[in-house]
């Protein structure tokens, strides 16, 4: 898991992950916020149901897919957190148009 360096500055924002409150920093992406909160995986795969966690953090691998404010298949590493954002971990396949 990941921890925040004491010298890292920035404002705190509050989001929920699967309904539970999680504090993040304003500069965080959703993927960074999940890793900092000790959430060990953000989705399961559509094919075998295996758990996956953010892998590349640069928008390439799509292993960070989550549901953000009701919209599925968002790349957690490319979406900035915002106060009050509702994040859900994603189980299996999501309708791409949602």
């Amino acid at each position: 898991m990941f921890r925040r360096l004491p010298e890292a500055k920035g404002d705190t924002v509050l989001i929920t992950v699967d309904g539970k409150p999680v504090t993040a920093r304003a500069q965080d992406t959703v993927a960074a916020a999940l890793l900092a909160a000790g959430i060990d995986h953000c989705r399961t795969t559509p094919v075998t149901g295996a758990p996956r966690a953010p892998y590349c953090l640069m928008g390439v691998c799509f292993d960070c897919l989550v549901v953000v404010d009701g919209r599925g298949n968002r790349q957690g590493c490319m979406v900035q957190v915002a106060d009050g954002m509702r994040v859900e971990t994603q189980q299996g396949k999501r309708d791409i148009a949602r």
Binding site: F2, R4, A32, C56, L57, M58, V60, Q80, G84, I96
Partner: protein
Amino acid sequence: MTTHAPTLDTDMPTVPQSCDLAVVGAGPAGLAAAATAARAGLKTLLLDENPGPGGQIYRAITRSPLPEGAVLGPDYWSGSPLARNVTTSQVTYLAQTTVWSLARDLELGISRAGSAYLIRPRRVILATGALERPMPIPGWTLPGVMTAGGAQTLLKSSGLVPEGRLVLAGCGPLLFLLAAQFLEAGVKIAAILDTTAAGAWRAALPEAFDFLTSPYFRKGISLLRKVRAKVKIISGVTALQAEGEGVLRAVSYETASGKGRIEVDTLLLHQGVVPNLNLGNAAGIPTVWDEAQCCFRPDVDGEGTSAIPGLAVAGDGAGIGGALGAAERGKLAALVAIEALKPDAPVLSEKPQVEAALSKVLRGRAFLDRLYRSAEAFRRPSGDTIACRCEEVSAATVRETVKLGCAGPNQLKSFLRTGMGPCQGRMCGLTITELMAQAQGVSQAEIGYYRLRPPVKPITLAELASLPKDESAMKSVERG
């Protein structure tokens, strides 16, 4: 119910319908290209997916939570002027903007804040940079395994570091740079498992003179010393395996002198970077095999010019040359665009200086390419090891399908869906080529790479529906 559109500052520029030059990617090459073009008075648009400029190497350079200096080191902070030059220039910089298609006539499909747009620039420079070479070892999909570049991104943009037992594995300068940054931040590293091939030093020797006289030599040596003093380095690693059920527990490895196993919470993998060529490939720029760098790159000349009129590729996206080289190559590609659109611009007289600076910073590259060439064992996985992360296809399945008579990567797509998942082959493309080359006993060049089609990034129906409904929009959607 509240909905958060991607956060965009309200004073951010709107999307213009046309421009002289569109630059895709705000890393060193894109920043330098855009700033140069704007200086010559070209109406320049810079498009980038991230919230701030910098690309991956200077990620979060204008918004890192870490104080300047210390942890990230001077090479990182040297990217500040590049970003500043763009933000203080006439460049229209659109952050958090995804380019999902590029047509041969240079029409760009982009999406921004939930809406899609089509733009028709007179010229386009792709500065889409590099991505990490896939490192398909057993267990590399387990939570707890991440790329070294990914961990570095978390450090740069969020000030996050791994907690618990940490191992770095692979080869290449980034691995040691990251180790040095972690040490500086007070992070303990249990070990570095170095996969640099046993014969690599000898292979690199003929290129050593250039390297010894390059700016990288002194920096590289002091970095290595610093890391060696504090971290156990196990060299000559020939096999790696990430172990765990549902989450990483340990990494096991093999060297010529035996096997070992280390319990870990985080394993960071890296074996160099390769061009991110998807957008250019989908636009129709042919890909060529680069044997020295052991990867595919777009077929462009030394100035980045492709066979498609008005379309160029600059920086690491055209072949790996490092951040300093990328900036010079960005300028060079911009000068070509300026020459075409404004042939009497005074800035054109700077070309000789740019070329000289470029050859200086590319010195020593051939040495690094040979020394850190990814070993075959880490490019050609076997058995159950996953080759395609999106569709969960194993190396063995790929090999069997080749035996059944599947000839090339594009045909494999229809058999196994490899390269058809959301990553569009970015995580599996090279592995598939390597496996097919091995199974058929031919070169990677003969096998070739996926031929990609737009959209190169997923786009939602809602975004497509937001496009203006004229004829060109309809065509673009059909192409998608």
